[in-house]
Symmetry: C2
DNA sequence: TAAGTTTGTTTCAAACTTGAACCAAGCCCG
DNA sequence: CGGGCTTGGTTCAAGTTTGAAACAAACTTA
């Protein structure tokens, strides 16, 4: 099979994607490191927990929600636990399970850091996109996700995860 | 100033973005680690060099092209140098400077790995996007980049970097 | 031209990530 | 029940990233 190289348009888009994602991750990490002393992923973990019912989630569900590996999550939660922002509880119904619970301190931290984080996300992204483009971005990202998950696991889409269907204040992950 | 929280549409887009970028980076890293024994960034470095005139670039230019920090690049080039894929030369005109040169071995490695990489990028992304969406993606990413670079440095856009204006086979970074 | 600043790059320690290996605890079936 | 397979999580070593500090060569300017 002869390689289907990228067209010039695709190349441009791809390069733009690489550049934008690097810059954006860096900017978010820098801001949160300054403001909350933790990288973006760690904040996302707290934010995700803050939206879950009972402010808790099983490790696997949390990893799945954020699309990260379990071992990465284990390490991160260890740190957050050391900082007192998260606590681990063992699962009653399944003794293998471990549940990450957001502590009051953790919740306070999310609430403290959220405004600055949202502002950064806006400044870097949404303030420069039309409503249409917001929709386009979601659609494009959805396709990427489906392409990569469709492969093996037919996991439910993020918005179908039961604990995702709430309203309430949005710390944005 | 009262926080401008994300709208529900923005939240959805943001979550989709986080998920998609995590999944995509993971997929690319996995594929290249398997196929070429190096993470995506390292391949990007080789690919970028392979397109530069003389297959070489100053460290700073390379870092700028890929939007990564200089220290990250230093580490990566050290590894690639150890592997014999890149060689460092000192800059004649500016004795502070250091130039990364792609070795023949490095070039061969890019050529060997490129097809698989492009295939992965297609499978994860372009095969699922319409031509229109490819344009939208580029536009959106361009805005992110401008938003984040506009801040302090009015650096030239990637496509204006002189050594970018070539034709020739596209290993895609 | 000496002093002070900026620019290009590396260094170092601390923090983070990866992937494979491991340990339970559930599950499945004969 | 008693293997085997699967699932939920953690561990460990090796590799990578970060950010601040260190250096050295170039500029600037008094």
């Amino acid at each position: 099979m002869t390689t289907r190289w990228l067209t010039p348009e695709e190349q441009r888009a791809w390069r733009a994607y690489i550049a934008a994602t690097h810059l954006l991750e860096d900017a978010l990490d820098r801001q949160l490191q300054q403001d909350a002393g933790m990288p973006h992923l760690y904040y996302s973990i707290l934010a995700t927990l803050s939206e879950a019912p009972g402010r808790q989630l099983r490790m696997t569900d949390l990893a799945e929600a954020l699309k990260i590996t379990r071992s990465r999550l284990t390490y991160a939660v260890n740190r957050l636990e050391k900082d007192g922002l998260v606590r681990r509880e063992s699962c009653r119904s399944d003794k293998r399970g471990s549940i990450a619970v957001l502590t009051d301190e953790g919740m306070a931290e999310v609430e403290r850091a959220a405004p600055g984080h949202v502002e950064t996300v806006r400044a870097a992204l949404f303030d420069h996109l039309s409503e249409e483009q917001v929709g386009q971005l979601e659609e494009i990202c959805g396709r990427i996700t489906r392409a990569l998950e469709g492969e093996d696991g037919a996991r439910p889409a993020a918005d179908d995860v039961p604990w995702r269907r709430r309203s309430s204040p949005p710390p944005c992950s």
